[in-house]
């Protein structure tokens, strides 16, 4: 089997497991390249349908291109879109470094939204190769009632037998892209012709490699203005994908703390 076909088949399997075993279920749609691939894979899994709501947790600080993209493709892809707001930064744990604290607004926004709609599971587009604590994730990753990730005691996961039994109150994060890498995502976007926000393509020598809030995300130096050029750039770079995401670099444990408390 071709590499991309294998990745796709595994993701489709995971999405179908989630849909079969967890109800009610939602998918996080951050509008980034990974979550667009994820919506696309859902359409593959469910014969052109996305049979659960997609959720955009809106910090209110995204790029205008992202909002435009959301409005256009929510309609074009026939998505059941739910948006949720985030509380102001003053309500977030003040011991976090500034950018992490700002990013943690999204965690609180997500929790509020999960509570409001009673979702038992949310599908999130994180990947192992993005960040070292994400590399230790499970495909079906349980969270306790307060949304905390107990990374010291994760469930065993083997032979595609995922954890689908939980005590009341717990919920589950499902990660159908965990086994993909950044370059896999771009190759798949190219192969399948999946739309993405234009900010990923270089303009005046700069492009965004990862999209977050405007004030804590920086573009990288790049000439890659087409999909093919992005793929070529990634084949040779050794810089990490999230180099432009300020909250990852403030303190050694900043991202681990964010994730333990429920960040994606």
């Amino acid at each position: 089997m071709l590499h991309l076909d294998e990745l796709e088949a595994q993701s489709v399997y995971i999405l179908r497991e989630a849909y079969s075993q967890i109800d009610p279920l939602a998918m996080l749609w951050s509008l980034g390249k990974d979550s667009n691939v994820m919506v696309w894979l859902a359409k593959k899994a469910f014969c052109g349908h996305v049979p659960f709501p997609v959720v955009h947790v809106d910090t209110g600080k995204k790029f205008k291109e992202m909002y435009e993209f959301r409005e256009r493709f929510a309609t074009e892809w026939n998505l059941q879109l739910i948006t949720g707001d985030c509380p102001p930064v003053e309500e977030v744990d003040a011991t976090l470094p500034p950018a992490a604290r700002s990013a943690a607004r999204k965690t609180l926004g997500l929790k509020a939204l999960l509570n409001e709609h009673g979702f038992k599971g949310v599908i999130a587009g994180i990947r192992r190769d993005e960040q070292a604590t994400r590399a230790k994730e499970r495909v079906f990753s349980p969270r306790d009632e307060s949304g905390t990730w107990d990374f010291r005691d994760q469930p065993p996961e083997f032979w595609d037998q995922y954890k689908t039994d939980f005590p009341p109150g717990a919920h589950i994060r499902i990660h159908p892209l965990l086994h993909w890498t950044e370059i896999d995502i771009w190759r798949y976007i190219e192969r399948e012709n999946i739309p993405v926000v234009p900010l990923y393509f270089a303009q005046d020598g700069k492009r965004y490699r990862s999209l977050g809030d405007q004030d804590i995300t920086s573009p990288i130096d790049s000439q890659a203005a087409t999909l093919q050029e992005i793929i070529e750039e990634l084949a040779t770079t050794t810089t990490s994908e999230r180099a432009g995401r300020a909250m990852d670099h403030e303190r050694e444990d900043a991202f681990e703390r964010l994730r333990a408390s429920g960040y994606m």
Binding site: M1, L2, H3, L4, D5, E6, E8, A9, Q10, V12, Y13, R16, E17, Y19, S20, K43, K44, A45, F46, C47, G48, H49, R128, D129, A132, T133, A135, K136, R138, F151, R152, Q154, P155, P156, E157, F158, W159, Q161, K163, D165, F166, P167, T181, I183, R187, E192, T226, Q228, E229, I231, E232, A235, T238, T239, S240, E252, D253, E256
Partner: protein
């Protein structure tokens, strides 16, 4: 636009797990491997130095992977992780697995995903408890290619004799479980010796002067560890094996009934006739559905997640296993398994767990523990429990019939997980050694039979008899009134001119089923035969009433399938309390006293019908009333112009 580069978009990524005893240098080896192959991002080495210095350590390569604070602070890998790197030859996913016995479940999670493994053994410490256990588990998890890295050679002064000694020790152990290591490589993770290149063996491999004595392991002329990785074969799914397509879900999209799942082995083609086990239904593949595809899909292979439609609307649900008719899975209610146990609470005889076998879920009971394997000595010892992190050979029994394969024939459908409450507590592989292959006992498999068409058809019989044939399948607890009611209904219908006959324990157990006892599988077989016979009676135009407890939905479902239309499930409803009060045969008393095992309602479950055609509540209605309800039902549904296919 720049020319399209051969970026290897379809290059394979080989998944390699690094295992071994705690502190034998697994994470260090990986960190060093990434460094030597230029896979670390700029600034990473400085970052590692800083993180190490904060903990008053020399540069700690393991921090590349040990991302959690707790892991760094305690210098131990807690959870499995994955990291990517590439060489000119191919892409790799390196899976780091913790070596501490506390984290065996995490080791298993990492190792089960791998195509190949590197078993790391400390040159100074030699083979230890977790070295053996990991070696054993690799074998059990199905990782067939194993290379050995004898690490920390710097701590034994690069001593060739010590290397030979450790090599012998590990080769001997692996040989006992049938694993032959591809290479055994002496390395030093600290200095990078033999990690990416064997500097001593091939000066030409590296032009750089490392400034240290590169002849420290001049005696070793084998490949570096990286070279050993390059020689692993990529693992491809065999398409030559029999088709196994477990049903993952059934969707109703756009007025179509779509069966979704992943093909675990073999090839599925449009037009193939599929057998669904254990329900034993068949239908043809009408189409393989592809969203956003260019062309019609005629064939799908092992590894693909597909969605298909069938030419007939047969009842199929998650958990069924589709195969081709000529190479079906085995059907059994009992199987032997070798399993690894991960829970704090030990596995014990008579305890029940939830089995997850592919997409099938069912309760299983531990019938016996044959032996517990000491992974140090490989001795098998009798035991009454399997402790945490132990390996045992057990016999598991299920009330329902399972479609399964032997692990050694078809690995992907011959392995399972067990769940206790909310937790995955075990993984295991299936062996049917000592159990008869029942593939020829169930289903229509006799090859030399061709069905001859009857010249007398159902309409002829209906015309002659004045009513159509069918089955009234009574089900209910012992003492609910099934037999009493069956006999009374038989007489009433006979008097009204119906052709009617009752099947019950008395006329079946003595002859047709004389060879069956009361074990769960014999009971299931008893019901299966009654279902088949009732179906024949119905076919011959008779109204056949069967009066058996038949506690399991799956068994009744099978009886329904055995009747070609005209099957009517009649729930004879009475609460356990009422039945126990009646206790016409004194059976409840005996069951309560423990004299009868597996008694429905007391020590074995009863699954009430969810969609019975008729429910007769014998607690609220007296016998005359109950008889009238059934007879009225028959007069409404078995009249001359009935439609036997309706029910």
């Amino acid at each position: 636009m720049s020319p399209r580069l051969p970026l290897g978009s379809e290059r394979e990524a080989l998944k390699i797990v690094i295992v071994g005893h705690v502190d034998h240098g697994k994470s260090t080896l990986i960190g060093r491997l990434l460094y030597e192959t230029g896979s670390l991002p700029p600034g990473k080495v400085e970052e590692l130095k800083a993180a190490s210095a904060r903990r008053r350590m020399a540069i700690e390569w393991s921090f590349v992977l040990d991302a959690f604070q707790a892991e760094r602070d305690q210098a131990v890998t807690i959870d499995t992780t994955q990291i990517w790197f590439k060489t000119a030859a191919r892409d790799y996913v390196i899976i780091d697995a913790p070596g501490h016995r506390e984290f065996l479940k995490n080791m298993v999670s990492g190792a089960a995903a791998a195509d190949a493994a590197v078993l790391v053994v400390d040159a100074a410490e030699g083979v230890r408890e977790q070295t053996r256990r990991h070696g054993y588990l690799l074998h059990l998890l199905g990782v067939r290619q194993v290379a050995v890295a004898v690490s920390k050679m710097d701590l034994v002064d690069y001593d060739e004799a010590r290397f030979a000694e450790v090599s012998r020790e590990i080769s001997h152990y692996l040989g006992e479980i049938g694993v032959v290591p591809t290479f055994i490589v002496p390395i030093s993770g600290r200095d990078g010796d033999n990690v990416a290149v064997n500097k001593a063996a091939a000066g030409q491999d590296t032009g750089q002067d490392t400034g240290k004595n590169d002849l420290s392991m001049a005696w070793y002329d084998g490949p570096s560890l990286l070279k050993a990785l390059e020689r692993f074969q990529s693992v491809t799914r065999s398409i030559d094996q029999p088709l196994r397509f477990p049903v993952q879900d059934v969707y109703k999209f756009d007025q179509r009934r779509i069966i979704a799942g992943r093909i675990e082995s073999g090839i599925l083609r449009a037009g193939d006739r599929l057998l669904f086990s254990p329900s034993n239904r068949t239908a043809r593949v009408k189409a393989i559905e592809v969203w956003n595809g260019d062309a019609e899909c005629l064939e799908a292979r092992a590894g693909q997640s597909v969605a298909i439609t069938l030419d007939e609307q047969i009842f199929v649900e998650r958990g069924e296993m589709a195969s081709h008719e000529e190479l079906p899975p085995m059907l059994s209610t009992v199987f032997r398994a070798t399993l690894f146990w991960l829970a704090q609470e030990p596995l014990e005889v008579d305890r029940t767990y939830k089995l997850k076998l592919g997409t099938r879920e069912a309760r299983v009971r531990v019938q016996s523990i044959e032996r517990v394997i000491d992974t140090d000595t490989l001795a098998g010892n009798p035991a009454d429990r399997v402790e945490r992190n132990g390996v045992g050979e057990v016999v598991l029994r299920c009330r329902e019939i399972l479609a399964l394969d032997e692990y050694r024939d078809l690995a992907r459908t011959g392995r399972f997980a067990l769940v206790d409450d909310y937790d995955t507590v075990a993984g295991g592989v299936i062996s049917m050694e000592g159990y008869p292959d029942q593939r020829h006992a169930f289903g229509v498999k006799s090859e030399n039979l061709t069905s001859v068409e009857h010249r007398v058809t159902a309409p002829h019989r209906t015309e002659r008899n004045g009513h159509c044939g069918g089955v009234l399948w009574f089900t209910g607890l012992s003492g609910s009134g099934k037999s009493t009611l069956a006999m009374a209904v038989e007489q009433r219908l006979f008097n009204k001119g119906y052709h009617v006959y009752v099947l019950d324990g008395d006329n079946v157990r003595g002859g047709l089923n004389a060879n069956l006892g009361f074990s769960p599988e014999d009971r299931a077989e008893n019901i299966r035969r009654v279902g088949e016979v009732a179906g024949l009676f119905a076919d011959s135009g008779v109204i056949c009433i069967s009066a058996f407890i038949s506690p399991y939905r799956a068994d009744r479902q099978r009886a329904r399938a055995a009747t070609k239309g005209g099957f009517h499930e009649v729930f004879i409803k009475a609460g356990l309390e009422a039945c126990e009060r009646r206790d016409p045969k004194g059976l409840y008393r005996k069951a309560r006293a423990g004299e009868i095992a597996d008694f429905t309602g007391i020590s074995a479950p009863y699954e009430p019908p969810s969609q019975a055609e008729l429910v007769v509540d014998t607690e609220s209605a007296d016998i005359e009333d109950s008889v009238r309800q059934v007879v009225d039902y028959v007069e409404r549904n078995f009249a001359r112009h009935c439609n036997p296919g309706k029910a």
